[in-house]
Amino acid sequence: MNSRTIAISVALVALMSLPYWVDGTYYVNVASQILFMAIFALGLNVIAGYGGLVSLGHAGLFGLAAYTTSYMLQIGYGHSASIVGGLFVGLGSMAIFAMLSLRATGIGFIMITLALGQIIWGLAYRWISITNGDNGISIHGRPAPFGIEIGSAESFYYATLLIFVVSFVAVLVFVNSPLGAALKGTRDQPRRMTALGYNVWMTRFLGCLFSGLLTAISGILYVYYQQFISPQAVDLTASAEVLLMVIAGGAGTLFGPIVGAALVVIVKSVVSGYIERWNMLLGAIFVFIVIFMPDGLVPGIGRIFRKFSVRKRNNQPQTLAVEGRQK
């Protein structure tokens, strides 16, 4: 068993037992937030980290799925239909987003996604008959999959954990698959990929769809967690925040977005209780990461760890030699 497998197993055990060792419902709820925001960040990481396509409109897709589910619940649909509706609209919107945005890469892609995200924010804010404008939409109750109630903080946490694990495994499988390798290839050398016979546009489009699916899932979890959705959830700040999660944790890594999501949610939800200017602290943390670990926390910490183990390995024979001489 290698160190990575051990780390994953320990993390899984810790996550599964979390409601038993954290102090109170509040922290269980924080953990739920970390998990669904991690799914959101994993989704964005598929295109930003592995595809090299930085989106500043992902909160729009997140919100579309959340709004659809809330609206359908509000007009009387059941949970299953509303969830399917949210997923369908989220995925369909991502397809439209991708068709429009993939006409460009780099700054062009960022600007198109930013504009599309702002359109969705504008709709959420102004299409009052559907979205209830600034007042948002409230929902009541959570689904009971297979008859299991997820109304309590603990049960909702376990449901979110299950979906998070499935999402994580899906990303793990995807990035190690031929299609995932092709997506990474289009990030590094799109011209070469075309010359090798790949359809770069379609590869990126499929990457976007997968990203959209994860984003829609997190949007639906968000609305069931909050029991409320308003334009604030789809604004530019929300898109930038999830992008910061990806960048801070390590774009193009599996664990980076999860660490980034944990960092942002903990500072927002826990540290903000002790420090009034918590967003300044968050800003300072990002500046620190960008300066000292420009490729993100996970690769940065990994590098430090490797450096120490190499130093330790190099020191070991010298110590033995000295001991030998002393004898």
Binding site: N176, T194, G197
Partner: protein
Amino acid sequence: MKALSIRGLRKSFGGLRVTNNLNLDVAVGERRLIIGPNGAGKTTLFNQITGEITPDSGSMMLMGVDMTDVPSRHRPHMGLARTYQIITLFPRDTLLRNVTLSLLGLKRTRWNPFTRLEALDQIIEKATEALDMVGLSDMAHRPLSETSYGERRRVEIAMALAQRPKVLLLDEPYAGLSIDERAGIKSLISSIPRNVSIVMIEHDMDVALDFADRISLVYFGEVIVEGTRAEVVSHPRTKEVYLGE
């Protein structure tokens, strides 16, 4: 049937004509050398053959099949492979992964989002064979960033050969190499089987002349001299515009 046949190819960028009624025929198994001064339009010609640049007019046939309007990404599937003047590889990956990506480009498996790439034994085996062909199989798992420039040139050739092309375009394969590395690449190119037609752009006449069955001198986007080595080297226009008196 010609391996590659180009007729009346024209391309302009605004008022600058980069390819001017260019005609080129390469026989099956032939080694063709394209020479010409800097800015003559040699790489632009390669970019049009691979479809990276769309010509204004003219036609291109690959093994008797018209590929003029075929999208760039489909041309490797027809048997066309190339290397680049500036090495264009995947720097974050290993040598094996680079060649695997090349092989995967021609397989339907490239759309598979479920199977582990490392579990595709046949492809991995073929990629290892391709690396073996260029003498790099013992470095298969080394990251590309830890290899020398000459080794990267070999990887580029391995990637092209792995696709079993019918026509291989080599854009200045000796550029930036040391004398020893040049000798290695030269013997590697010489070992490519004759069922692969090769068109090579090269400035180093010492290494390139031995390679060529026929030579085309490109000047201002058109072939102004074409023939055997002796014919082209002794031609007055070659001396005038390329070799010097």
